[in-house]
Amino acid sequence: MANTQSMCTSFLGDLLSAGHNFSTTNIARTINTVDVFKAALYLATATMNASTTAYSATNEVSGTGYTAGGITVTNGVAPTATNTSVTAGVGFWTPGASFVWSGVTLATAFDTVLLYNSSNSNKAVSVHTFGSQTITAGTFTLTMPSNTTTTALLRLATV
């Protein structure tokens, strides 16, 4: 088994039915409430990929200082959409702060973080992988890429 970095396929369908709101303004609902997104860590032996549809505790890391379900993601900047030509539109979003787990011991190797929507049935958004890690009485920090059209964590672009 292995984890594979990908936007989750179910997320693509959810977008077309307004299943996720990354903004305080919601054009599809009557209440403008931003959804709460969370980040959970998974073992290197898990099988997280585009087929992942929702958060699950199966194969999630466990250890001192780690709470099942992960941490709440800071949603500091609303999604942005720009267009440099008649066809080249791109929408993008990146969490507003790093994901930080302090004072943890995670003895079993992990290499994946799942971003999911805890406001909507824990539906999966995306799977991100990195080199396998363990943490011993320490801190694990996951810093986000720059929130730009080419590097944002989530990017939807026309072709």
Partner: protein, 63 residues
């Protein structure tokens, strides 16, 4: 400097410090370890994600 370890707070002068990093197209990662003899008593890591391939969207051409 005091380091949080599996044995509580310890002065770093008592420990061996090991560091490393990985830089590739997906991530830039650094880690620091403190060893007490042959025992790992602290390990922290910092991963900076670079980017995820974008979802490319297209629409069907109307005939």
């Amino acid at each position: 400097m005091l380091i949080t370890t599996t044995k509580g707070e310890m002065d770093d002068s008592l420990l061996e410090k090991r560091e490393g990093s990985v830089d590739n197209e997906n991530e830039f990662t650094t880690w620091v370890e403190y060893w007490l003899g042959s025992e790992l008593v602290h390990r922290s890591a910092h991963v900076t994600l670079k980017k995820l391939p974008a979802l490319l969207a297209e629409i069907a051409q109307l005939a």
